[in-house]
């Protein structure tokens, strides 16, 4: 099956199993020869234990987009080093079973992609045609998912202190855009710059930038109490 122009343009070539997987879904071959089962197990754990994920799932349910694991998540083999993606065409979060091997990584990818799904659910995001929308969601996802936490950056040998978080968010948003769209680096940088302030400061549904589990737990607490909160302002 040859690559269509559209597949290349929208980054679908990174996710070769979106149209047809190598092994039939649910087959013995799939479970023995791929990391599919491990991915499913880690996904289940992420959804049940990560306060980031729990908050996002709750917020999405309240916005009318209840997430069902079997419908809205797919564990697939992907190209290169990409860890996951959000496919707006099918409303699915793709998890790259061949590139995610640790639970902490799974938690982070699930959070990152859920942020895209949350944006898709609450706003008219034009994923395919509007680069500003794409950039905004990538900035938010890099900012709020823990992608740019101090420890993750150090693990990548990116050492920086003062406001390094913002540099990291900019850089990762840029990388994500360049990976899935045909656009030159300068144009992408310009777009990221244009929307950065707004999108960096949009912390929905967390209400804060969660730097770690405690922040995420407090954010979750605030979210659970939101009715009382808004009723008493």
């Amino acid at each position: 099956m040859g690559q269509t122009k559209q597949e290349e343009e929208y980054g679908y070539d990174l996710f070769p199993e979106r149209n047809a997987g190598k092994y039939k879904k649910g087959s013995v071959a799939e479970s023995l020869l791929t990391f599919n089962h491990k991915c499913q197990v880690m996904l289940q754990l992420a959804v049940e234990t990560s306060p980031y994920a729990k908050l996002l799932l709750g917020a999405m349910k309240n916005s009318g987009c209840t997430v069902f694991k079997d419908r809205h998540f797919a564990c697939e083999d992907c190209d290169g080093t990409v860890s996951g993606g959000f496919d707006a065409a099918t409303s699915q979060i793709v998890l790259c079973q061949n590139n995610i091997h640790q639970q902490s990584h799974m938690n982070r990818v699930v959070t990152h992609e859920l942020i895209h799904a949350f944006d898709h659910c609450r706003a008219h995001v034009d994923w395919f045609n509007n680069f500003r929308h794409l950039a905004c969601s990538e900035i938010r996802a890099a900012n709020l998912s823990g992608d740019c936490s101090f420890s993750n950056e150090v693990a990548r040998f990116h050492f920086g202190m003062k406001q390094h978080h913002q540099e990291c968010v900019r850089g990762r948003a840029l990388r994500s855009i360049l990976a899935v769209r045909k656009i030159n680096r300068q144009a992408a940088e310009k777009i990221v710059d244009e929307v950065f302030d707004t999108c960096f400061n949009d912390h929905a549904p967390f209400g804060r930038i969660p730097h770690g589990k405690k922040d995420a737990k407090f954010a979750h607490r605030d979210y659970e109490n939101r009715n009382r909160y808004y009723a008493n302002l």
Binding site: T4, C65, C121, R122, F128, Q166, K214
Partner: protein
């Protein structure tokens, strides 16, 4: 009723002042976090509970919280918010459907 339980204000204050949080705030914003507002809110909250002279404290507390909400909203969004969720969110997957945008 107060917007949050009084113990919530205290735990936010303690968390704000912690070394861990101050480190991460500097890492994110390049500045030290300002935590005194949480402490003030806690004392106002306790005063509301006592219900003597609670009115003024209640107002001060509400003002502080409304400020927090306003801080979160002072940007102009890049996209238009939906009134309803996407219509195809719950549609079943169709594996034969060709990918079209």
């Amino acid at each position: 009723q107060t917007p949050r339980a009084c113990s919530d204000y205290w735990s936010e204050y303690r968390h704000c002042r912690s070394l861990w949080n101050r480190f991460h705030h500097y890492y994110t914003y390049g500045t030290s976090p300002s935590c005194y507002q949480w402490k003030e809110d806690y004392y106002n909250c306790k005063a509301c509970e006592k219900s003597t002279g609670g009115e003024a404290k209640q107002e001060a507390l509400q003002r502080s919280e409304r400020n927090r909400v306003a801080e979160q909203r002072k940007f102009s969004p890049v996209w238009e918010l939906r009134r309803d969720p996407p219509s195809d969110w719950h549609l079943p997957l169709n594996h034969e459907k060709p990918q079209d945008s």
